[in-house]
């Protein structure tokens, strides 16, 4: 019982800090930079201590799973939404990673974002993200995981658009949000279909549940769609370089450590369901392989450090998908943890990369050898050139998505818009018609340039 209370305290502490800071700001107070950072660091230090205590007590008492419940969030006749949390051997490493890495990133950001006008906003979003990630990793049911999943996605988007006065980060955030939301349809409908097919929503019960192959395939593919979106798997990889527009600490915690692995975590949780469907398993392996290949090729031609690191992370996440597909869940879990720690360090050092390189160069006496140019030589020159072009164009995934999904939707939207313009001008009062006539020149020129359609930058 004491473990349950401690687990709930660890999950909700960052959420409470977010609520306290946010509400005080809404009511007119602006907390001092140092206070915000100290409170955040103290929060995650407490969470880390709590996790350490939990870990030690679990080892001493031989308890492998800690469960906590806050009852039903809401109930309508037969339908219940339980607020149930679990800390088992899959969740424990990720929860521990979350509290340690978010705390580390908070400490790093204290000086990195010093006197930035978005300082408080960054820490608010970091705490909300911490809460969302803890909710995601400790959720005992698919229904509850959606809450954490969407909070992680939303904070990710808001931090990509952190530098709000520049157009590029803001529109990149919008594109990432669209990719997230479209892929989240998989999680939402997958969770709802579980109830329809009378599959328990608690992950623990999946190990003993007999899945029919058809149900496992449908729900498995829907969950895979959600995981692909969050983990930037092919063909949704295009958002990842755009996400690098955010400040470096947020890139580290989101795309080096936690958010990028949320998809793999979902698949780890859904492993019993995936195992019941060959189609879903094959799809996980194929997607993972394609992504790993795409990540390694594109990362090699990326011109900036953060994008190269992001594609390197993508390669590893692709390999983690493959491991999950083959059923090597322990290896995948170990891979996630080690990769998250290493990549966070690399991201946090990225702004000092040139400085580090020069120091290394000097330490080596000015004789640093080139690396990474060995295996390419095994391929024919023509094929190498083709791969190079493909990598430069980032696999043309964005182009394909825009041409085959976005463009038809926009075409349809434009036709609807024309119809609506006709309907709303049909009976416009005379005065309005005169006003509209004055603006006709502007509108006409806008139409010519396709401004009535959503701008390409909007999507």
């Amino acid at each position: 019982m004491e473990f349950s209370y401690l687990l709930i305290a660890i999950i909700f502490l960052p959420g409470l800090l977010f609520a306290a800071l946010g509400l005080s700001w809404l009511l007119g107070a602006t907390p001092h930079e140092r206070l915000v950072a100290q409170l955040t660091k103290a929060c995650y230090a407490l969470c880390t201590l709590g996790m350490a205590w939990l870990g030690v007590r679990m080892i001493v008492t031989g308890q492998t799973v800690v469960r906590a419940s806050l009852g039903d969030w809401f109930t309508v006749e037969q339908y219940h939404f339980p607020l149930a949390f679990v800390l088992d051997r899959v969740a424990f490493p990720l929860v521990a990673l979350t509290v340690i890495l978010v705390g580390t990133v908070a400490a790093f950001s204290q000086s990195y974002l010093h006197r930035d006008e978005g300082y408080l906003r960054f820490f608010l979003l970091l705490n909300l993200f911490g809460f969302g990630a803890l909710l995601l990793f400790t959720a005992a049911t698919v229904d509850l995981i959606i809450g954490g999943w969407e909070l992680v996605g939303l904070t990710s988007v808001l931090l990509i658009g952190f530098f709000q006065f520049r157009e590029e980060p803001v529109y990149n955030a919008l594109r990432v949000f669209l990719a997230y939301r479209v892929c989240d349809i998989g999680l939402l409908t997958g969770a709802a279909l579980l109830h329809l097919y009378h599959v328990p929503s608690a992950f623990a019960e999946w190990h003993t549940h007999e899945f029919s192959p058809a149900v496992a395939t449908i729900i498995g593919l829907l969950l895979l769609l959600a995981a692909m979106g969050k983990a930037a798997q092919v063909p949704f990889s295009g958002w990842l370089p755009r996400a690098m527009e955010g400040p470096t600490p947020s890139s580290a915690i989101f795309y080096g450590a936690l958010s990028i692995h949320a998809g793999a975590y979902l698949l780890l949780r859904a492993e019993p369901l995936l195992a019941a469907s060959r189609v879903a398993t094959a799809a996980v392996i194929a997607i993972g392989l394609l992504t790993a290949l795409h990540g390694t090729l594109t990362g090699r031609v990326s011109a900036d450090a953060k994008t190269a690191l992001a594609y390197a992370a993508l390669t590893q996440v692709g390999l983690i998908f493959v491991e999950i597909g083959f059923g090597f869940t322990r290896l995948a879990l170990f891979h996630i943890c080690s990769h998250a720690v290493a990549r966070t360090l690399q991201f946090l050092r990225a702004p000092s990369m040139l400085h580090d390189h020069h120091r290394l160069h000097a330490a080596a006496g000015g004789h640093l050898g080139t690396t990474g140019a060995y295996y390419e030589q095994l391929l024919p020159a023509g094929f190498r050139a083709w791969l190079y072009r493909l990598a430069l164009e980032r696999g043309q995934h964005d182009t394909a998505l825009e041409r085959f999904i976005v463009a038809p939707v926009l075409w349809l939207a434009h036709r609807f818009h024309q119809l609506e313009s006709y309907l709303s001008n049909y009976d416009t009062p005379r005065a309005s018609k005169r006003r509209l006539a004055k603006r006709a020149g502007v509108l006409a020129s806008n139409r010519d340039t396709g401004a009535l359609q959503m701008e390409a930058a909007d999507v």
Binding site: L26, V170, R181, D184, I185, F416, E420, D427, L452
Partner: protein, 485 residues
């Protein structure tokens, strides 16, 4: 179970705004009129809260008024009644000074009184009267002080007048079909002449179709939002009298006919939601974008009602609350921005208002994201229930629902970015953040959405009770027809 309210709270809530409306009409100054209006709506809110509390204490029983027996407080209207009063109060206190005139206040009070009466009554004739009266302020120019340019378009007027005619004709047909004294109450309607009742039901459904702005009748909302008075229109739309007509009269009084006809209305609701979400991709005009978001999200209410199971109907009733509060928040923030800008905004260039009005930005973002089911808000619970209920009855429709929500979330963020992010111009830098009176109204709305999201059962108990009864009424008919077969 039939009990009595200890005081005529519902009559008081209707009469107070009506009386004060005549007073404000002659008030010398706008601010004096606003104060009178605020007193009237506060009286209504307190009275409605008392009635709702009594209904909740009596375990959601149907509580009749001591004198006007056709006014009741029950599980179905216990939340919408005080919620609408609070919305009207918020709109009146928030409205920018330059918009408010004594007649404007009188218009809001008349609309509020009519909506309270429509929610409170179990008599279809009274409901029809309230339906018509709620539209009066939009047809009489003096109420909302509209210029020729902002006058409601002819098409919109034709659609709304059409809805009134449909309701009145339906009432006349029901009068012909039934012979008992209380012929417009829900119980007696069932025993009437079947063909006439079917025709009356069809007319009521057409009225709902017109007033809710289902495709292709949605044009009235688009045109009115674009040129009309935004805040009163938001109140009118968020009354959701069309959905209430189905829940109060169509489902319980004529469940056998409703069971056959509602799928058509539900499918139409879903098509409308999808159409509006796709159309919004090509829309830049902010007022029209707000209208499309409102049309698309409020169409889900019909989809939930049509699911005819407790999950779906409860989801619809909770979604109603979310749509009402969230779209009002969006309209309030947008109106505040419109009032602060010296030149009208074209919706193309980014305003970058977050620097000068960060709190307005937070309110807009929270309201918008709650509308599309942000976790930790009431919208999440509503979306979850709607999705489950709809998938249970129509598995293929659930996917479309999720798709539409995803598209609408994108539109909310797109509008947010255009309004608040980007490089601020000189005009945007000079804009003031939310004023105290604005901040309080928006904070209450935000707390409703967030606290409702943290403890949804507080707001869900009464709607779930009402939904259970409605679902039971429909499933009984299904059971009986299966038995007959």
């Amino acid at each position: 179970m039939s009990e009595q309210l200890i005081f005529p709270w519902l009559s008081l809530s209707v009469i107070a705004p009506l009386l004060f409306a005549t007073w404000t009409w002659r008030a010398p100054q706008a601010e004096a009129a606003r104060r009178i209006g605020l007193i009237a709506l506060t009286i209504s809110l307190v009275a409605l809260l008392a009635a709702s509390l009594q209904a909740a204490l009596y375990h959601c029983a149907t509580l009749h008024e001591p004198f006007l027996k056709f006014f009741v407080a029950d599980a179905l209207n216990a939340i919408p009644l005080p919620l609408f009063a609070a919305l009207a109060l918020g709109v009146l206190s928030f409205a920018p000074r330059r918009k408010v005139t004594p007649h404007w206040v009188a218009g809001v009070l008349l609309l509020s009184a009519a909506t309270f009466a429509a929610y409170a009554t179990t008599n279809l004739a009274v409901f029809a009267l309230a339906w018509i009266v709620s539209l009066v302020p939009f047809f009489v120019k003096r109420f909302f002080n509209v210029t020729d340019e902002a006058e409601m378009p002819k098409l919109a007027r034709a659609i709304l007048i059409g809805s009134c005619l449909m309701v009145v004709t339906a009432v006349a047909l029901i009068a012909l079909a039934t012979t008992e004294g209380a012929r417009f109450s829900m119980v007696t309607v069932r025993a009437g002449n079947a063909p006439l009742l079917t025709a009356a039901f069809a007319l009521l459904m057409i009225a709902v179709f017109l007033r809710k702005g289902l495709l292709p009748a949605h044009s009235w909302m688009l045109a009115s939002y674009e040129r009309g008075p935004l805040l009163p229109l938001t109140l009118l739309v968020n009354g959701h009298l069309g959905a209430f007509l189905i829940a109060r009269f169509a489902l319980p009084a004529l469940p056998d006919i409703a069971r056959g006809a509602l799928p058509l209305l539900g499918d139409l609701g879903l098509v409308t939601a999808l159409y509006a979400a796709v159309l919004a991709c090509a829309e830049r005009q902010p007022r029209r974008l707000l209208a499309l978001l409102s049309i698309s999200q409020s169409s889900f209410i019909l989809v939930g009602l049509e699911s005819a199971n407790a999950d779906g109907i409860t989801g619809a009733l909770i979604h109603w609350q979310v749509v009402a509060v969230a779209t009002t928040m969006l309209a309030l923030v947008y109106t505040a921005i419109e009032a602060r800008l010296a030149t009208p905004w074209d919706g193309v260039r980014s305003l970058g208002l977050a620097a000068s009005a960060p709190r307005l930005a937070v309110f807009f973002a929270t309201g918008g994201l709650a509308l599309v089911g942000l976790p930790l808000t009431l919208g999440f619970a509503a979306e979850d229930l709607l999705l489950h209920g709809t998938l249970e009855s129509h598995p293929h429709l659930g996917f479309i629902l999720a798709l539409v929500t995803a598209l609408n979330a994108f539109h909310v963020l797109r509008l947010f970015i255009r309004l608040f992010l980007g490089q601020p111009g000189r005009e945007a830098r000079a804009i003031t953040d939310a004023l105290p009176r604005e901040r309080w109204a928006l904070t209450v709305a935000l707390l409703f959405l967030v606290l409702g999201g943290l403890r949804p059962m507080t707001l869900m108990r009464l709607p779930a009770e009402a939904a259970g009864r409605l679902a039971a009424a429909v499933s009984k008919i299904n059971h009986d027809s299966a038995h007959l077969r």
